[in-house]
Amino acid sequence: MLDKDGIAKRIAREIKDGFYVNLGIGIPTLVANYIPAGINVELQSENGLLGMGPFPFEGEEDADLINAGKQTITTLPGSSIFDSALSFGMIRSQKIDLTILGAMEVSENGDIANWKIPGKMVKGMGGAMDLVASAKNIIVAMQHVNKAGESKLLPKCTLPLTGVNCIKKIVTELAVLDVLPGGGFKLIERAPGVSVDYIRQATTGKLFADDDVPEMIFD
């Protein structure tokens, strides 16, 4: 069973040389720490930056330079700054190759719910609806089950949707799964030591698994 860094590390292997990537808040942010050497990527922050660098050294924080999570960050050689409209313009026109974000629920047809829980204070969808509606390639990073022990991979989302038919791949502490074009989750890899049966029990949506699903490889 993977910890959050393990999920991030596994997702990092999906990033190809030359990719522009948007990382959501939470586990997706950790992915930046595991991008393999020799793979050149540029991170987009939807508040208006391409080429996001690491956190600044202490004392070098710049209030004018933050990411979409409002964290102080840095630029890198090749960075560019732009306004919010152009930022979402490049997202809508699919110039961002990969979006990685968290989710509360994903359905077997690729719907995602990650912004609103009825009865709780709603903070807003931020840029998530734009990202999931536009990206060519979206990977969800999340726990396989919620705190109540219920599967987050469902036949149909129960929470208000963020986007429909958009998620292509899910990486959890248990598994890597593809969302099949015709519907259903296809088990691609198991976390080390996790059985197909265990994953099946944790997955309420339709699960397709071959007899010999390989364990994840990390490098």
Partner: protein
């Protein structure tokens, strides 16, 4: 050269009235018009509709206007951590319209570009789409969203000149340029106001034609919401 300079925030916002719709630039606490917000709190103008990506924190940014119950409605994409905001929302004192961040930015841009409506895929199939026209282009569904119609846009830039030209610094640019284009009246506060001719025309982000009033602000706090650092090895 058409001179846009006013004496300060108080003069710049003097004709904002109860019930007006304001756009306020900034993302989180980054690039917000601090001086104008202070002046709006001082003026005590009420029943405002505020279009701004976020609603500030309890004691800074638009949060200061919320504390004084000046805001009737917020149109935002994310309202963050703000206890007073949450209290007013749950008690029904405050109306909130949450819209996707890209839709928010593009509806501002549409206004500045004289386009009455735009198409975006954001929100298709979700509750955001309720009551909206859905249109299919090349096999993909889009929502038609309307340009904003704001009485005032209030933005904050790094440098500006007496002709109203604006230059933003780093990610404090965010919503400011698109809102600057979208106000019936646009007010810009800047950290440094220079004479026309001192800014390189190629470096200007917002041409002065969009800006009606400009002044050099004072005492910028530029508060950091999430101070994240690394340590030198």
């Amino acid at each position: 050269m058409i001179n846009k300079v006013v004496s300060g925030a108080d003069e710049a916002i003097s004709d904002i009235e109860n019930g007006n719709t304001l756009m306020l630039g900034g993302f989180g606490l980054c690039g917000i018009p601090e001086n104008c917000i202070t002046a709006l709190v001082k003026k005590g103008v009420k029943d405002l509709t505020c279009i701004s990506n976020n609603a500030g924190v309890d004691d800074f940014g638009i949060g200061l206007m919320l504390q004084k119950r000046q805001v009737k409605k917020m149109i935002s994409s994310y309202v963050g951590e703000n206890a007073e905001f949450e209290r007013q929302l749950l008690s029904g004192e405050l109306e909130v319209e949450l819209i996707p961040q890209g839709t928010l930015a593009t509806r501002c841009m549409a206004s500045g570009y004289g386009m009455p409506a735009i198409f975006t895929p954001a929100g298709v199939g979700t509750e955001v789409a309720e009551g909206k026209e859905v249109r299919n282009f090349n096999g993909k569904d889009y929502l038609m969203e309307y340009a904003f119609d704001a009485d005032f846009a209030i933005v904050k830039a790094w440098k500006g000149d007496t002709a109203g030209n604006l230059i933003f610094r780093s990610t404090s640019r965010n919503f400011n340029p698109v809102m600057a284009m979208a106000g019936k009246i646009t007010i810009a506060e800047v950290e440094e106001l220079v004479e026309a001719g001192e800014l390189d025309p190629d470096h200007i982000h917002t041409p002065g034609v969009f800006v009606h009033r400009i002044f050099q602000g004072a005492n910028y706090e530029k508060r950091i919401e999430q101070r994240t650092v690394r340590t030198k090895n």
